[in-house]
């Protein structure tokens, strides 16, 4: 069914949703910040 194939093709072209160095930097920074908060929370717990 050509219409469905075109829609699937359009959808697959949208992946990956974000692909940039800046996003990776921001994402990893957010990751590190959360891990830091978890670390601090463990300290508090102790």
């Amino acid at each position: 069914e050509n219409s469905l194939l075109r829609q699937v093709s359009s959808l697959l072209r949208r992946l990956p949703a974000i692909e940039s160095e800046k996003f990776q930097d921001d994402f990893l920074m957010e990751y590190n910040d959360t891990l830091l908060i978890t670390y601090l929370a463990m300290f508090t717990n102790c």
Binding site: N2, S3, L5, R6, Q7, V8, S9, S10, L11, L12, R13, R14, L15, E19
Partner: protein
């Protein structure tokens, strides 16, 4: 999805026309289809038996033109212009719109320079007008024009007709996506189990510690 819904009716109409006509009349239908402002898909029309029969006849150039609109770009047309019929302005516009879709297939960020080169546009203003009026308002693309970085960030682009051989790669991508999602679900399930186990261990440990504390208190008192 919206663009497919919009053009479904037109596809049906032209497929019916193509099924009932032959020869030169069919070439006229092909010109009409490739000029239609709301039609961007031509696989169904190509698949019509009468259209396929144009191969090798005096009207085979119309079939080649239809294939160009289904799979090709404006630059490809220009290089093959001697073998193909002359285009009317509406067809030129259509082919340029389809070129944008093809470019958006490979890159999400389209530099203005590349677009101007591929679309034979001389200045940025003209390019932006084309992208806004003839692409975004029509609904075939959605995106952001970044004038500072001189590029067009594509968020959505309608799908073009599939070239032979493209299906395999699509199936592979979908299979990868499916396996990634399944692995993710399995990981989430494992993490849930782990969290439950750790919670049980924690409760048990707390209970043991509380019992020890009570014991020591009793001993002291």
């Amino acid at each position: 999805m919206d663009i497919e819904q919009k053009q479904a009716e037109h596809i049906d109409y032209f497929v019916k026309q193509a099924s009932n006509l032959k020869g030169t009349a069919l070439s006229t239908v092909i010109v009409e289809a490739t000029s239609h402002p709301s039609l961007f898909a031509f696989s169904e029309i190509i698949a019509a038996s009468n259209v396929l029969e144009l191969e090798g006849t005096e009207n085979s150039a119309s079939l080649d033109l239809l294939r160009m609109f289904a799979y090709g770009t404006w630059s490809e047309y220009k290089s093959a212009a001697d073998r193909l019929p002359q285009l009317v302005p509406d067809q030129v516009l259509k082919l340029k719109q389809l070129t944008v879709l093809t470019l958006a297939e490979t890159n999400k960020v389209l530099p203005y320079d590349l677009l101007m080169q591929e679309l034979d546009v001389t200045n940025v203003r003209e390019l932006e007008d084309f992208l806004i009026n003839d692409c975004m308002y029509v609904g075939i693309v959605r995106g952001k024009l970044d004038q500072l970085r001189r590029c067009f960030e594509v968020q959505f682009a309608a799908g073009r007709d599939l070239r032979p051989g493209q299906l395999g790669s699509m199936i592979q991508t979908l299979a990868n996506w499916l396996s990634t999602s399944e692995n993710l679900l399995v990981s989430i399930q494992e993490k849930i189990k782990w969290a439950d186990t750790m919670s049980e261990i924690d409760k048990k440990h707390k209970k043991e510690v509380d019992e020890r504390v009570e014991e020591v208190k009793k001993t002291l008192s």
